[in-house]
């Protein structure tokens, strides 16, 4: 992962530094770093025989992913719940606080509520997956949550209606009057990923994007996949979105062109954790470790549609890896809870959603 332009002292930077220190072999190893007796964990997982997985992956992709996991780990049955990130986190929070512990593992795009739950609420088990050593330290948040794949913000256009030469190249092209009424996006009050790109615009000096897009009659659609469908249908010609649906869409042959602007893009990592109150903690560990293994990461990339974070995994077929993008900035480093609220307030006010 490339994180340029990141000179601020943020919680993420501190944690990354902490992770690096730990990975380099700090003097006083924590309980988590004492190492897992992995054969014992595997034996216990087989004895538990079950895994409950909470996630926000594609419905079709996750079943294949779990089939591959079961092939690699026969004897562990799986069940899963899929929800959008925010409701998933709310569900986990309620169950955790109520003592209705069903989830063993949760994989989602986190928000402040999740990190608060992990950091202060004791949601996540602290442990060290054996595969962690194959990753860059930055993916590790205190041996509790681990970034396993990444979405990036991108501009897309309908290739049947827009010639590549006419397509937008930069974020600022989205408020060019020639796209008036033909620009689409997922509104920032709905998407953590879009909040990231808005924060990037602000960081780059564009503070009035909401007003400019309103003047250009931007149309909002439900989720990045909803935006993708709208561009595909021709409801709008160009759009900005998190690239979750891009790889699978292009694989299907959808006539969609895309541009990752040279000025930079905001990224969002999907984090996985084992619940501190998991009914099947060992099965949870085995699953997370498999997800972080080379074969697991490849399956996650193929079935989830997003580039994974493990170095050395074969790149995605259609979209470039994050390392190849110009000035990719991790959203967590530029979107604090306060900025998130401010962005949402500004955009809702501008578009009359109060």
């Amino acid at each position: 992962m490339t994180h340029a332009g990141d000179h601020e002292l943020t919680r993420r930077a501190l944690l990354a530094a902490l992770g690096s220190t730990v990975a380099l072999g700090a003097l006083a190893p924590s309980r988590a770093m004492a190492g897992e007796d992995w054969p014992a964990v595997q034996a216990a997982a087989a004895k538990e025989g079950k895994l409950s997985f909470y996630h926000n992956l594609r419905p079709q992709g996750v079943e294949q992913l779990l089939i591959e996991f079961r092939k690699a780990n026969p004897g562990i049955q799986t069940e899963q719940i899929r929800l959008g990130s925010a409701p998933l986190i709310e569900r986990f929070s309620t169950e955790f606080n109520a003592g209705r512990n069903i989830a063993d593992v949760m994989l989602t795009f986190p928000d402040d509520a999740m990190f608060t739950g992990v950091d202060k609420g004791g949601w996540a088990l602290e442990w060290t997956p054996p595969e962690l050593s194959a990753f860059k330290p930055v993916i590790n948040r205190g041996n509790k949550t681990f970034a396993v794949h990444t979405s990036r913000n991108v501009i897309i256009y309908n290739k049947q209606r827009v010639k590549p030469a006419d397509a937008p190249k930069e974020w600022t092209d989205l408020w060019d009057p020639k796209w008036k009424g033909k620009v689409g996006m997922d509104p920032p009050w709905r998407s953590i990923a879009v909040q990231g790109v808005v924060a990037l615009w602000v960081k780059n000096g564009i503070t009035d994007a909401a007003q400019k897009l309103k003047a250009n009659d931007v149309r909002f659609f439900e989720g990045s996949a909803g935006v993708f469908q709208a561009v595909l249908r021709g409801d709008v010609m160009v759009a900005t979105l998190a690239d979750l649906p891009l790889e699978p869409g292009l694989e299907d042959g959808a006539p969609i062109g895309f541009v990752y602007p040279k000025s930079g893009t905001a990224t969002n990592d999907g984090y996985v954790m084992v619940s501190a109150r998991a009914p099947h903690p060992n099965a949870g560990k085995v699953f997370v470790n498999w997800l972080m293994s080379a074969p697991g990461q490849l399956v996650l990339q193929e079935q989830g549609g997003l580039p994974v974070t493990r170095p050395g995994v074969a790149p995605t077929k259609f979209v470039p890896p994050t390392s190849a993008l110009s000035n990719a900035v991790d959203s967590i480093t530029i979107v604090s809870g306060v900025e998130q609220s401010k962005t949402i307030e500004t955009w809702r006010e501008t578009f009359g959603i109060r």
């Binding site: 079943e63 689409g184 249908r233 869409g249």
Partner: protein
């Protein structure tokens, strides 16, 4: 003294306080039923307790949630800020938009639904059974799937505009579903089957002698409709309109999909945003939801007061046979009207779903499409989907039966017996109905996760949630029929020595059969398609088909969502056919 017993005016001699004059038993000892007040008292207590539990537990959780600055169970402060925010200009503007959209949708749905019901059941229309079947089927369409289909048809890049541009070369005219009128149009399509199904029973149960008398007196069909038929249906129409209004007020699938691109915000969209996207404001969502529930409860109270004097007894012991009104020169306009409705609400969306389920990515021109069976293959191989199908059948089939039994019991006490506290029971039945589904789901999640009951994560909880939410369907539909049945029919049974329960079983139930079957169908289909409350309380082992559809839809995997919807419709047709076969009464017009 039992809760059903009392003394003084307004109470019958067997201890039941009776209601409106039309329903009041005549003081005739010979017509007293064989007493079984003990059983009825016991049953009333049980019914009251169950309904109170179902309604109040999630609402209490919502009240607590609305007074906290965090979700229940989390450390936080007590606050009134959520309630104070209700009077912000944004909420008030949105409320006004919501009322306009819901009001217009209800008016149009009532007109079309009532017209269809009268055409099918009061005229010599030639295809009544086929029309009923298609209306019932279109009732199944989840709102977001219908909205999805109509986006494909009527959006700027959709089928209609593509045909106009590409095939007819017309650039100057275009259709845009993303507008207030687009929302109303799809909402009307969605609500018409509901209106039809709620007034079908009362129309079928009307005593034809009144219409015959008007006809004999020389009244024209139009005059008869205005002066006889519609007044006799006043209670059923008012009930149906009320429920329809509540449903359109809380509808979120259609405004979210169609309203958001068109920048049209309604209260449900607002609640949806508050509940689902960070920074979430569950407390404000709960406050808005509870306010809607209060508004609805007041409306129901008013409606009950107005209807009390208007309730019409239309089935007496006198034999009568309906003479269908001949359509005459109106036959073809009526056929076209019915055909057009079925085309836009069922056939066109159904075909779009089928098409979408068979292509890799959307293109309006089928000749440019890449066809595939992968969505159906996925369903075939998906263990989760198979489990969801089985759960759906259990929850819809069994749960609807529980709902109908409870609804019938409630309406029998509320409409027929009116024991102490019957108005409260009536209000309790309706109370959760006014709470938007997504907010009620939040209340259910908070309540049943924290209550020390072994319900969380079970199918029983899903059934309880559905019954809580949709009990008014059963109570209103059966209640509308009960008020039409003259008490003299039961009294005749009592004269012959039957007990009150025997009177219910032998007289009331058989005469109410079409309405009870309508109740069952309504609940069955409502349970089958419910999503907004389910989405927060399902677990991996209790997932249902609507959740699978929503998951695919939320990921904009419209191909898979469409394939699952097609499968659901096939299942629905199969199960309805089975039900019709098993319930001979339902086959009668």
């Amino acid at each position: 003294m039992s809760v059903l017993q009392g003394s003084g005016a307004g109470r019958s001699e067997d201890g039941f306080r009776l209601g409106a004059p039309a329903l009041r038993a005549r003081p005739n000892a010979a017509r007293r039923p064989v007493a079984n007040g003990g059983v009825l008292t016991g049953l009333y207590v049980v019914v009251f307790a169950v309904v109170a539990f179902l309604a109040l537990v999630p609402l209490a959780a919502l009240v607590v949630g609305s007074l906290r600055d965090t979700s229940p169970g989390l450390p936080g402060q007590w606050t009134l800020a959520n309630w104070a925010n209700l009077v912000s200009p944004g909420v008030i503007d949105t409320l006004l938009t919501t009322l306009v959209v819901a009001g217009l949708s209800t008016i149009f749905a009532m007109i079309i639904g009532t017209a269809l019901a009268l055409v099918i059941h009061r005229t010599d229309f030639r295809w009544p059974n086929a029309m009923t079947g298609m209306l019932a089927l279109s009732f199944y369409f989840p709102s977001f799937i219908l909205a999805m289909a109509w986006i494909v048809i009527g959006s700027p890049g959709g089928v209609i505009n593509d045909v106009l541009r590409e095939f007819l070369g017309i650039e100057s005219v275009s259709v845009d579903i993303y507008s207030t009128w687009g929302i109303i149009f799809v909402m009307v399509l969605h609500q018409v089957p509901f209106v039809y199904l709620t007034i079908r029973g009362p129309i079928m149960g009307m005593d034809p002698s009144y219409e015959e008398a008007a006809r004999t007196a020389g009244a024209s069909p139009w005059c008869m409709l205005r002066r006889v038929t519609l007044p006799m249906l006043a209670y059923a129409l008012a009930s149906s309109a009320l429920l329809c209004l509540v449903l359109t007020l809380e509808q979120f699938g259609i405004p979210v999909l169609i309203g958001v691109p068109g920048h049209v915000t309604v209260l449900a969209t607002q609640i949806y945003l508050l509940c689902r996207f960070p920074p979430t404001a569950y407390g404000l969502a709960a406050a808005i939801g509870l306010t809607l529930a209060v508004i609805t409860s007041v409306a129901i109270l008013l409606q009950r007061r107005l209807a009390r004097g208007e309730r019409s007894v239309t089935t007496t012991g006198k034999a009568g046979k309906i003479t269908p009104i001949p359509l005459g020169v109106w036959r073809w306009p009526v056929n076209l009207f019915c055909g057009f409705y079925v085309a836009v609400s069922l056939i066109l969306p159904g075909l779009i779903l089928l098409y979408t389920s068979l292509i890799k990515f959307f293109t309006a021109n089928p000749f440019d499409a890449v066809f595939t069976f992968r969505n159906y293959l996925y369903i075939w191989n998906s263990e989760e989907t198979q489990r969801a199908i089985i759960n759906t059948i259990i929850v819809s089939g069994g749960g609807a039966l529980v709902g109908v039994l409870l609804g019938v019991a409630c309406s029998y006490y509320v409409v027929r017996l009116r024991p102490t506290g019957y108005r409260l029971l009536d209000a309790l039945v309706m109370l959760p109905f006014g709470v938007p589904g997504i907010v009620l789901g939040l209340g259910l999640l908070w309540a049943y996760a924290y209550l020390p009951l072994p319900l969380y994560g079970t199918l029983t909880l899903i059934v309880l949630a559905y019954v809580t939410r949709f009990l008014p369907y059963a109570a209103e539909t059966s209640g509308a029929r009960f008020v039409q049945l003259d008490r003299s029919l039961e009294e005749a049974a009592w004269t012959a020595g039957a007990s009150r329960l025997a009177g219910v079983w032998r007289i009331l139930m058989p005469l109410s059969l079409p309405s009870l079957q309508s109740s069952y169908f309504l609940l069955f289909m409502a349970f089958f398609r419910e999503i907004s409350a389910t989405i927060l309380i399902f677990t991996a082992s209790t997932s249902v088909l609507s959740v699978s559809i929503w998951s695919a839809f939320e990921q904009a995997n419209w191909g898979l969502a469409s394939a699952l919807s097609i499968l659901a419709m096939v299942l629905m047709v199969a199960m309805m056919s089975l039900l019709l076969w098993a319930m001979p009464g339902a086959r009668r017009r």
